[in-house]
């Protein structure tokens, strides 16, 4: 937990683009909230590799959202159940079900569909909100925050130093 916090501070306090960081968090929604070994995550990884998103934010976000997923999985499942069992959508699902490609994505899995839909719904808000938060933080709160005792403790920790070195290397 302390390690994650150190990474997060380093990321926020760095000179990475807020847009790339927020996009990294947004893509991390998919990898974190949905079952990892799914075909759609291959596409997400491809996009993350090809688009200039902050990889640090992506990996950090994936770890955070994976932890959150343990809590919200029942909610994801219920979302998936309600969608798949919605009579109005049955024709849509039946149509997709006839395609091997779509079935390869396992869209008819309750957890997977629920989490993908949730991640998709949260994607844009995540990009916008996280970008605003990062900008506001850097403009108004970063200096104040760095003066806090806890911030100094984190920066003094070996995890932060190690992470900083890695950042310099990369």
């Amino acid at each position: 937990m302390f390690n994650l916090l150190a990474k997060f501070l380093k990321l926020l306090n760095g000179d990475a683009s807020p847009g790339q960081i927020s996009l990294g968090f947004a893509f991390a929604l998919f990898v974190g909230l949905t079952p990892f070994f799914s075909l759609h995550n291959l596409i997400i990884l491809f996009l993350v590799c090809v688009i200039r998103v902050n990889l640090g934010a992506f990996f950090l976000g994936s770890a955070v959202f994976t932890l959150i997923a343990f809590i919200v999985d029942p909610l994801m499942i219920s979302v998936g159940e309600s969608l798949l069992n919605n009579p109005d959508l049955t024709s849509l699902w039946t149509g997709l079900y006839q395609s091997d490609v779509w079935r390869a994505f396992k869209f008819n899995h309750t957890l997977l569909l629920g989490s993908v839909v949730t991640a998709s719904v949260l994607f844009i808000p995540m990009v916008i909100v996280s970008r605003i938060i990062i900008s506001v933080y850097r403009e108004r709160l970063m200096k104040w925050f760095e003066k806090l005792q806890i911030s100094k403790m984190i920066k003094a920790s070996k995890f932060y130093k190690a992470y900083e070195k890695l950042g310099e290397l990369s």
Partner: protein, 673 residues
Amino acid sequence: MMKWIRWSGLAGFVVVVGLIAALWLLAIGPLMKMAVEKYGSEAVGAQVNVEEISLGFSPLSLTITGVQVADKDAPMENLVSFDTAVATLEPFPLLLGHIIIPDVKLSGVGIGTTRQYSGALSFDSNEQQVEVEKDKLDEDSATENVTESDSTADSQVLPSADEILNRETLLTSVHGEAFEGAYKLHKKAIDDAISSLPNEQGLKNYEADLNRILKGKFKSVDDFKQRKKEFDALKAQFKKDKQAIADAKMAVKNGKADLEQKWSQLKDAPKQDLTNLKGKYTLDGVGASNLAALLFGEDAGGYAETALSYYEKLRPLLVDDEAKAEKQALLDQRLNGRLVHFKSDNPLPDFWIKTLSFSLTLPEFPQDSGSLGQVIVKVQDITQQQDVINAPIKLWVTGQNLKDISSLAITGVLDHRTSTGSDSFSLDLKQWQLNNLKLGVAGLTLLSSNTNVQGKVVFVDEQMNLVGKGLFNQTKFGSKKTNTFAKEMVAALKSVEQFTVSMSAEGAVTSPSVSLKSDLDNQLKVAFDQRLDEKQAELENKLKEKLNDKLLSYGGKYTEQLKALNLTEGSLKDKGKALEKLGKAKLSSYEDQLKAEAAAKEAELRAKAEAEEQRAKEKLEAEKAKLNAEEERAKAKLEAEKAKAEAKAKAEAEEKRKELERKAKEKLKKIFG
């Protein structure tokens, strides 16, 4: 826009994915080999060996070479093996985890081929040892059964009359010995009784003595006393001899009754022995009725057992219990999510071989006659999830280049779309020229037969129901054995030109109740009955001769002795009568003799007086008769005179009446005139 693209990231992704794909392609063959060997071994309970699995891409296909599936029950044999299997694969379903194989072609398929090394699973060594020991025990038991069966078969060999007499505990011998014992016992009793009897000379002496004692008048009192003493002694001897005769007669009577009863039993014994022996040596109709089962049961049972063992091994692979259980578990674990299925135009099971085809070389039948040819086997829709594709597994086996068989067709439907499941197979074999088929008993061989076989078996919920019928035409039988039974069998079967064998089996697959029937039974029964009558007559005659020889050893003496006893009995009767007569003789006293003389004289006088009286009586009667005659004459004279006077008076009265009538007539004339 271009500033958002990370070219290095794209290259990295491509390189990473490419490396993963390359590694997967390199590893997939060995990984699949390992998977097939591991899970295949677990599934069949014995080693599954694969030489190589390789992947092809145009089209996507899998080539498996050198597959051997060991037989769990016989680790040095393969349940099935094949040289090469080429399976095409559908790529997209593979991404979904579905192995869909449109077509599989097998070559070099073999069943029951020998392995180079044991196919037993290594972790199962202890159990294997137990199995081996069990197998050994089973083999021992089987050997015992075979021995027993052989001995049973031996018992089918009809022995000679001498062998039967020596081997069997015959009622003839039992009753013969009983008769002999009784004869000896009674003979001794009769001999003892007869030895105490007087002989003919003795009886003559008795008569002479009696005559001497009774003859002549007593000369004196002393003479009388002497004779009386001798007479009493003789009488006592008569009484003693009489009792001895009665005892002897009783002994003879008892002996005769007992020996006649035993003789009767002895005479009936050969017949009973024949009946018993017929049953024991299965020469009667009851024995013959089981003959078809005896002839064909072992082979039919063996083939059925083999087929059932294959079915038992195959069945667990057909029923996707594990998959169904997993599906149910998935439904129960909603927290992990679940797959929601929709109606599909193209439903996909996890594993599906749409068409499997191969050719198979048929085994030799009968043994050492070469293979029967080849069959083309085609199996359609092999999957454990028949409910997904909504189609059962279908099987077609068609004969090709068959030797001595016109056509062979086997069809099968293995339907497990519902939990109960039903598997059915049918067989249609036409014009099978069977030659030199060794049958199970007496070295019998079905030399030739044109055979048609039809059958159907249905398995439902581990229960089976089989109905099969074989029609054997133009049959010819023979036997290399020269024993009596074999000869008799061949002779009986010579008249059989056609017969049917019907087989049925129902019940649990592991222990079905098997029934084998044939009209051969009836045909054999008729033939056997005829042969039996001849053989029985022959055997009976031989036995009779033997038994008669035996009986003669008793019966000859017995007859003579019975005659002797009858003579003795007659002699004893005569002797008894003679003694009775002698016993009735009395010896009078001297006074009695005098009294008798006086009485005789008195009687003489009385007779004389009676004679005189009779003469006087007769004279008186003569006088009386004379007087009566004179009286009768006087009476007659008087009656004559009286009649004369009456006639005269009657004539006068008539005359008067006539006169009066005349006068009356005249007066009437005058009055009316």
